[in-house]
Point group: D2
Chain length 243, copies 4
């Protein structure tokens, strides 16, 4: 089996302006995730960031990407409509997409789901999060325990304005009193999407082994399979009509 | 119970240029559907068309609409982005939306579902269609038999690029050899959507009693219920954090 | 519209042996729920209990029942297989079913869902529960706030062995660290099912106005609609075959 | 990756009494499917039949089975309740199950889905079937064209009394006028189920390359993945309660 080709996309702004974030992620959030995926083997990994030409997501890069990871927060509006459409099209043609944490508010995610995916509750107080595995037979849960525990995280709470997921893998419990649908699978066109909640930039969440385990599992789950062709447009009948 | 306020939107172009369509629908497709809903009672019905200012869908009209019906075909691109966004927003806030036949390719439907909803097979040969009831306990099937039979219709065939419906009520069989998911329910934000396939402009489909029965049922199903409030943004904890 | 005919079924054992339960529910859990539904109007309410002949669920009673509520706990095994099958059949033919709290372990619920629905976590320490509304446009959430808060309840925690619900309306947060899918809609055959988590016998949960509100909403949601007939068996073709 | 261990179960009665079936399947339906899977490689295949002790499905055999295929028709009632329960339990613990054709009426399938899965339309006139691929990115559709065409088959028609599938991969068109949900994915407990319609005993359907392709794909899809543990029962809190 050929290696899965992964592109880790990051807005890459917090790391340049907030020393705390820079300390946690000296190579950027994308760098930390890419390093993990490279260590995990069986992936061919590259990265791309907002401030590169075409945000690093040229036609050529996307053509060579099986699964795209997306982390953004401050600058969703700076992503050009053209690139957002390009990513959307590629997902519909089969590319996997994994949207991380504050990427919920991105153009890419909102366009693919059709709702105001930026709408949710939040609180940035560094509280305990427990992500319970709801579908314990799901491949995205491979190798986990009953739950993932993160000692300090930003809270996200329901109501989260998303379509009901095709598969709901994780539900989060937060110390302060909220719950959240934290692991959401969707199929759109020929592509598979996974939203995974954890990853506030001021906590070392992408160094947490269980979080990294989920990311690797999700890449494998979202990678395209050959499937069948889809043909659109005018079509001749197989049966004579109007006998 | 207050009457459900319905707005029937129609592109209203075929009727002005194609004498056959004008003959079938002298008051327009919107006129035929509106007349039926008025006869059915318990609805307050108005119509709106593409060539009116703001396509007839002002803020005020939408504020006073519980359920919007949408028929379009030739001129999806002439619907302004602003009005398409306005309709999308209203659906997410609770307005019901019923998309009819070639309305599958509309901006409104595509934005709410996130896929290329214009992508399907078709053949305009006037062939027999049978819409089988798949969920026979669904309120949208109230009062039907086991299937709806339409003697002459345009064919639409799979693959239809939509997200898997939350509820699949009808599947069509076509004489020429195809099948189609013809009655598709979705929930998006606070609103309910129903896609209903039949209704090619050159056949008298919106005079068919079963088709009109489904449209009335769907309006009742899609009408907003009070539900619960959704609050978004920063939120204080109910529990003290970090003990 | 004719009144919805409701039968509230209760095991009715705790109330006879535990003085605390008897004090909270002097007329039994079924009595408290029935009294609420009678006050709410538009329902015709009767009750039935385990120790009546045929558990109070004769063919005649079920024939005259639009929606059945089910509370059981200690004596799931004392429900006869014959009556469990009778209830299952009636649901498949269109009767609504609302399963409350420890009713998750009942024969009726297990047979309709096909999994070991008794399998979940629990802790009987009287802790705070918050049921968050996940689908805020759903009719079962009508009239609620953003969440229901219950000051003291038994905890139920995931993994709960159920098929993924067709619609997930509530997710519970518990003070002690767990989450739970607390409001689950299913369609089975022609019938609609709703599982609603709260209701441990030693706390006055069925006197809580929001809990009662949900029960009334759920009865309306689960009540049968006419739908369409389903015909099974050998069938002649509409088209000649093998031309 | 270890080979997937497959057990092909067949009622194996038609082959012994109907010379036409014996001619098509000299080694039995199970033999034909097993031979294909062996040729396909990467599977460890055994067979089991109704008239063996414990129907060939001892605890030991099931313990060593990753995916079970099930073909039955005449003798669903002869499958013992005990063995049906044993298979159901194993599926809930993670074993994949693929139910073929008339296996829809089996105890095993009915118990896992909770509905009268034997209820559907049928006609045994040897008509043309076209299975359209609805989810063209699904791994079960790998390697197919837009549809599978079977020149002569028994018809199955809707209404088919099943819960709405978690994923609907195929819809069949029949020459005589019916449609059918022919490829249905479910998750139950830790296990994955796939129902695949084709396979009437008097036509050489299990020699059709596309049908065999789907069966191989489905085995790979249904094979257990490690997932996460599920713990049930009483549980201590992580948070102190009732502060």
């Amino acid at each position: 089996m050929a290696a899965i080709r992964v592109t880790v996309w990051n807005e890459y702004r917090h790391e340049k302006t907030n020393p705390r974030v820079a300390e946690i992620y000296p190579e950027g959030i994308h760098g930390a995730i890419a390093a993990h995926l490279r260590r995990a083997g069986s992936f061919e990994v590259r990265t791309a960031t907002l401030d590169e030409p075409e945000h690093g997501l040229t036609e050529e890069v996307l053509e060579q990407t099986d699964v795209l990871l997306w982390w953004g927060h401050l600058a969703h509006d700076e992503v050009s409509d053209q690139i957002a459409s390009r990513v959307q099209d590629r997902v519909l043609q089969g590319m996997g997409l994994i949207v991380l944490h504050s990427g919920h508010g991105s153009k890419v995610f909102g366009r693919l789901l059709g709702t105001r995916t930026g709408a949710l509750k939040w609180r940035d107080d560094g509280e305990r999060e427990r992500l319970w595995v709801i579908e314990h037979g799901h491949p995205i849960a491979d190798g986990l325990g009953e739950f993932i525990e993160i000692p300090k995280e930003e809270m996200y709470g329901e109501r989260f304005e998303i379509p009901a997921p095709d598969e709901l893998v994780f539900i989060s419990w937060f110390e302060g009193g909220e719950v959240f649908r934290s692991g959401c699978c969707y199929r759109r066109g020929k592509g598979r999407l996974f939203y995974f909640r954890p990853g506030h930039e001021t906590f070392p969440v992408y160094h947490h082994p269980d979080v990294l385990q989920v990311i690797g599992n999700a890449v494998r789950w979202a990678a395209p399979t050959p499937g069948a062709p889809a043909v659109y447009g005018r079509m001749a009948p197989i049966e004579p009509i109007g006998r």
